[in-house]
């Protein structure tokens, strides 16, 4: 039955999660984890509602058909039933709203951040500035991807490592530290998004937005601009390398030493 296939399609995502990347990553920050939890909560609620509603529908389609000689009933209203299926969904929604509201309060609390990273969107690259340490640099798509992505480049993009997901200068951040991100843009609206680090936020020219992340596990996390920002919107990846605090401090001092040279090399 076709309808059963739909139901399977709904359940499928979690079953083949491992090899096919069909679900939201759980991520490595408190914000990404709570987004994932709420996502899965809502997913399962909709699956259950879907099975109930479509189940009744399928039953009706199989048994209440003219071709099996079923005679139509006459009823066409019932205030009691209507009240029931207005109130029950409402209660389900209240149940969903509570954890979501709690999550939001947690997500919006940027106080007590350890370091502040200012992210500025440009057409089409990012600038990062570590406010406390005075380190800043631009980060744009790496040359390999950038050459391969041209129309008729003659290169097989499957051979490019991290195609469209690699940059020339990675952002380095310490693990287990609350990092406050300030987001703004120089020209048009961009959005900074690394799925495994939680949600995204718009970078708006003239205004500053903020969000926070606290990376629990060292690693390399990749993302991209998520707000249409012109022709090369698809080509401004983000790479965050999370390292333990000590290593981060070393990186900062190295960066400070090379600052003059760096700014000459990387400047627009």
């Amino acid at each position: 039955m076709k309808k059963i296939i739909y139901l399977l399609a709904l359940i499928l995502p979690t079953q083949i999660l491992a090899d096919w990347e069909v679900n939201m990553p759980r991520g490595v920050t408190p914000t990404s984890e709570i987004a994932y939890d709420i996502h899965m909560l809502m997913f399962w609620i909709t699956v259950v509602i879907g099975i109930l509603v479509f189940g009744v529908m399928v039953y009706s389609i199989i048994y209440h058909r003219k071709s099996v000689g079923y005679q139509p009933a006459k009823f066409h209203e019932s205030t009691r039933v209507e009240i029931v299926w207005t109130v029950i969904p409402f209660l389900i929604l209240v149940v969903c709203a509570i954890p979501a509201t709690k999550a939001l309060i947690m997500m919006e609390d940027t106080s007590d951040a350890g370091i502040t990273l200012k992210v500025t969107g440009y057409q089409w690259m990012w600038e990062y500035e570590y406010l406390e340490d005075g380190v800043n640099f631009f980060s744009k798509i790496d040359n390999k991807s950038n050459n391969a992505r041209r129309l008729n480049s003659g290169k097989d993009v499957n051979d490019v490592e991290h195609y469209l997901r690699n940059v020339d200068n990675e952002v380095v951040l310490p693990t287990d530290t609350k990092v406050r991100l300030l987001l703004t843009a120089s020209d048009v609206i961009h959005a900074w998004w690394v799925p495994e680090l939680g949600g995204k936020k718009d970078a708006i020219p003239g205004y500053v937005n903020e969000m926070w992340i606290n990376i629990k596990e060292p690693g390399v996390y990749r993302g991209a601009c998520a707000e249409l920002c012109g022709k090369d919107h698809g080509f401004m990846p983000i790479v965050v390398r999370a390292v333990p605090k000590l290593e981060y401090d070393k990186w900062v001092s190295l960066r400070k030493d090379n600052r003059v040279a760096e700014s000459q090399n990387i400047g627009r």
């Binding site: 940027t110 106080s111 951040a113 502040t116 500035e129 406010l131 120089s186 205004y207």
Partner: protein, 175 residues
């Protein structure tokens, strides 16, 4: 026929009203922003009736800057960070360098984080109040005088002030 007329008049009225309503949304939005601190909009008016009320409460102010578009400017805060007492007047400045050879008009747009506290960052004197002019290759110090209102929520330990410098040379409609 009067029923039809009533319908047409009512409906046309709604259409015209909604068109103007879209324009009414502009001031409404500003009021909304001021109340909620949406986008960290700060009030752009000079504070005139000023009374200093030192509170012995200290907050950190971080200063940052952005140059909009391909503006030929170098634009940096003089101090990256200040620890200030709530209720006292402080002065700092931003340094603007025009890297081109020609006279430029510029406008700075302020934004404060966290947005909800933006209204307590009060500016007494600010280069962002008006359009500025800067000669080719000139470096200018742009002064800023501010006070943190004692209504600032006690949870707030850090405020971040950001300026975006727009090149508004020959641009229409900039105050």
């Amino acid at each position: 026929m009067s029923n039809y007329k009533k319908t047409y008049i009512t409906v046309s009225f709604i259409v015209v009203f909604m068109f103007f309503f879209s324009y009414m949304l502009v001031p409404l939005y500003d009021i909304f922003c001021e109340i909620t601190g949406l986008n960290g909009k700060t009030n752009q008016e000079r504070i005139v009736n000023l009374d200093e009320k030192p509170t012995n409460r200290f907050v950190t102010i971080k200063f940052t800057s952005t140059v909009a578009g391909a503006g030929p400017f170098d634009f940096e805060p003089l101090e990256r960070e200040m620890v200030v007492e709530v209720g006292k007047v402080y002065t700092t400045s931003y340094i603007l360098t025009n890297q081109s050879n020609s006279l430029k008009q510029v406008t700075a747009s302020p934004s404060v984080v966290p947005g909800a506290e933006a209204e307590y960052f009060k500016k007494i004197e600010c280069f962002c109040f008006t359009q500025q002019e800067i000669n080719g290759l000139e470096t200018k110090e742009l002064p800023l005088q501010f006070i943190i209102d004692d209504k600032l929520s006690s949870d707030t330990k850090t405020l971040i002030l950001s300026y975006t410098m727009f090149n508004t040379t020959d641009q229409l409609g900039v105050k």
